[in-house]
Symmetry: D2
Subunit: 339 residues, 4 copies
């Protein structure tokens, strides 16, 4: 990569998220291009590459990362494949934007953390895209400004219209609430120390074997309390809300807004139907910020430490979900690289 | 009436508004009772009176007003009958709450004004109930407080779901926009000096011969400009909104609010379906305020002068509507009694 | 009381709530009058009675209840005095509106319950006025209508600007959260079976010895889960909100609304500063409903059973607050009189 | 330009808007690069070019357009310089994004229209960026979908916190209300046939000689009525709102939204302070859409006809402003190229 040339990105994985990132880097992001796409499905990856000028298809991530026109890696493959891809990227000292989760469990996340420390500098940004949502950015700035005093509680809502057929109960934690875990750590600048999961009698619309909705509680090392309603089959749309309760006021994001319509006895607006519609701008800003930082030679955004912490809290959360008990979160001491 | 006894009210007219006032005074208002009801329909008035303890039915307003247990009069008969009822009430020196309009035209309103002046003291309150709506009261207080500076413009919306079969185009002015006339005069504390009526091509839902909606413009002697959307067949509900644009800010009332529901892809709330639902509290407060003032021996609220001014502005408005021209409002000098 | 005469009410207690009820019955409520006021402070009660026509002051509740012009009793004395007053009212078979709490603890509430059962008919309405707030009434109707399906969770917020100097930590439960206890039981039509109290690190504005805010969790016998943020020193105003999460949608009440102002870089509205401003209409409607039912010879609204259940849940709540444990609620079987 | 290479854009003018577009194309827009910048101020343009890789500074627009690496032109110079720059771009058959106004008057706009017709194909997109604002896009889609029926009225608000010292009264029309002119034509798909300007007594904060605020009325050839409040010194922020009143409902955009804060007795949010903050996303989307269309070899968005029509309506508007009369808009027949 020349200093001002477009960043050549290899996108690993061409499923729903991967294909969306390919489109984004090709058509939305400034200063980057899709140099390579990787998928074990050779036909699919070839079809994806054909639509993009100068893009080479690969079935092996290592081969793509070795290509001379690849400057950076975006990992959007399934979680279990992340660790190997991350370690390979470290071998080539390539900057990585890794879709969440960093890895599926704390032990593997720890190995990534150690590998990055051996590298001696940060290379990984984890895809917690809410940190780039304009409303959450404003909430973060308000809290950081201190005007409202110390945050005491965080009330969170995370609602999906429905879930795919392969959905399992632990995915409520690992795929959905993981966002509130990162969001809480980021907004509060505190680590989560314990998780409790409470359950009402499930909705009639919950799939067999899934206790939906649930109320997930986090305690933090700064003494804050977080409650998260996760409701994966709410039926009416995709809705993410958060209210920070502080010493001198509260602030809320995620209320629906935009165009207001009067019609047939009601006033109101539309609710987004999925996370792509709700967080499209956050995804765009996240990738642009990563490209911009990478071209400047820096690494910013959520780190591998954030990915590891989320994995550790998720493990506690799944245990809390299964046992009905309060489960303490075990974290290693924060390494110097991530302070 | 003894000082602390319940005020004996004669309600003239037992149509929709009259019947509602009978119910209100009987069951909602403190310190008053329905002593008499009057209607030319002898059967109907007898039926109404039967449900209320100590209430006598009459077919002649004069007879009701002469009854010893009648302390005050509420006129809810059709507009053309108001003048005679008001003059009869003056004859007995009885306090009157007169539903709007005071009378159907400026000439007859002027006769009422003159009769009240001959009486030497105010006896009439006109039923412009928006002055008792909690939101409008707050808007009035904000403007009066001066915090936002001088009001420059007033944007008003007045929407009805539909109109009854006997509705005529001048009723858009005389029955609907008359409220914005009084509201503007009250909020701005200025007289209306000219009216212009503009018309878009009518809605397909407008009855034959009615150009609905219209945009009615008022100029005031204080230099303010008021625009009123009147839309009598909007279909979706009853909605009254006003925004005052001032030198240092704006204030808006009448947005829907209350319970918010998420449901089937939309968020929002309900719109009231008629003026009774929207202004029920204003009606309750208006009658209570009138009863309270009357028992204290005072007369407050919109005066006969306000009724006369509304009639004069209505006449200009109907002419403006018919001609498409800007029509100046002619008012007599404000008599001393109403300053 | 003659059938159509005004209901003669004895108001017991002339402190803040009592004095407000005296004013309400005298000036707002239809069909009732203050026949007697009772306070141990003879001078105060005499001063109160003097302002009202036909009102006799007493220092002894029993004497007031024995007076021939007293048809009903409103108890607004301190909680510890309620039991004796209620039993005295039963002795005269007088209908009672008893400010919450019914009594300060479950044991005394049970004695009241038993006395009312011996009477053989309901006489008591407990002053849980939220049941008369227009927004809560709409929420109740929506839930009861079944359109949104079964309620699964209830998220509640209860915020006070500040607390008086005599406030204690158990009062967070007994004086504040008691409203959410009744509200949850009423909205869900379920009994509360367990209470847990969680605490973040307190706000710097909390008085010495009061862990404010707290998150109070209720479980119900229908499998619903309720979380209540109680924040008694939030500083910015008085705010009560509730969101019911149902199988097919959610509904929220208590968002601020009304007049919207644009001013100096911000848009928004005012927050009520105390419960009187926020629930004034609910208080008015509650007393009117009680008077209307009493004059019809019926007893409606929250019963002594509701008062007893609230007392039992409060006891569990205070224990949960003190221990940090989940505390089960013990209720007797619901007597036939209250089914 | 190779098919997939970055579009080389020459930006004419490096004032506030031009500099912002340079930044945008350099750092935000995908698939484009700033190949040339032009300004009569040689030092300024050199400084701007230095920050961007492969960007050449020019003081002569013609020279920049002749450069082989210039594929397209973005005109952001002052309005009077637009005509010459557009004609020069036509000489090189280059696609142009021309900041509004197309030209400062209808006669010159007509010359541009004729020149583009001689070229035989569309080359110009005019910078009416509201057409790319997400809320306005949604409103347009709702109206186009026909669900609410035919639009009858459009209520518009356009408020600026303050104006620069060189502001003049005609600029209320030419610089501010010109947006509502285009917005109305676009939303309604109708031409404006007459303009009237009404004035309240001006705010005390209006600069000498400027009658601020004003109410501007448009009539359209489809029978719709548009009212626009232009208030250039409102003091509290930048606010653009529009409500379409249709046969079966209304739809409103531009209400403040986003993060809600409870604080010190009020709830609400922030108002943007200038058009850059309010319409940043619209500008980004506009330029991206222009780059994307240009790379596909097409021309989309507001055309030179839209620029001409706006100029003609502005002329009528300024005359209406000066005379207080209703002024008819004169338009030539729409040429085939723009149908």
């Amino acid at each position: 990569m020349t200093k001002h040339g477009a960043l050549g990105v290899a996108v690993i994985g061409t499923g729903r998220m991967g294909a969306d990132h390919v489109r984004r880097i090709d058509a939305v992001t400034s200063g980057a291009r899709v140099a390579a796409v990787v998928d074990i499905d050779a036909e699919r990856v070839k079809a994806v590459a054909e639509g993009i000028d100068g893009c080479t298809p690969y079935t092996d991530p290592a081969a793509a990362m070795a290509a001379p026109d690849v400057d950076a890696v975006l990992i959007a493959s399934p979680g279990p494949a992340h660790e190997a891809a991350l370690l390979e990227a470290f071998r080539h000292d390539l900057p990585v934007l890794c879709e969440k989760p960093l890895t599926p469990d704390a032990a593997s996340a720890l190995r990534v953390l150690e590998a990055e420390q051996r590298l001696g500098h940060r290379r990984v940004q984890v895809g917690f895209m809410r940190r780039y949502d304009p409303e959450f950015v404003r909430l973060k700035a308000l809290l950081a400004g201190g005007e409202l005093g110390r945050p005491l509680m965080l009330h969170c809502r995370h609602r999906n219209a429905s879930v795919p057929s392969f959905f399992t109960e632990p995915m409520l934690i690992n795929d959905s609430v993981v966002h509130e875990m990162d969001q809480s750590r980021w907004l509060l600048e505190q680590e989560i120390t314990a998780v409790t999961v409470l359950r009402p009698r499930p909705t009639a619309h919950a799939p067999e074997g899934i206790g939906d909705p649930q109320l997930v509680l986090f305690e933090t090392d700064g003494g804050a309390l977080v409650d998260v309603e996760i409701f994966a089959t709410c039926g009416f749309g995709y809705q993410v809300q958060a209210e920070a309760v502080c010493e001198r006021g509260t602030a809320r994001v995620g209320d629906a807004h935009g165009m207001l319509v009067n019609r047939a006895g009601t006033w109101g607006g539309e609710i987004a139907q999925d996370f792509v519609a709700r967080f499209e701008e956050a995804y765009d800003r996240q990738v642009q910020a990563w490209v911009d930082a990478t071209r400047r030679g820096t690494v910013e955004g959520p780190s591998a430490w954030d990915g590891y912490a989320a994995a550790a809290v998720c493990e506690a959360g799944v245990r809390a979900q299964a046992t009905g008990e309060r489960v303490a979160v075990e974290l290693i001491d924060r390494p110097a690289l991530y302070r």
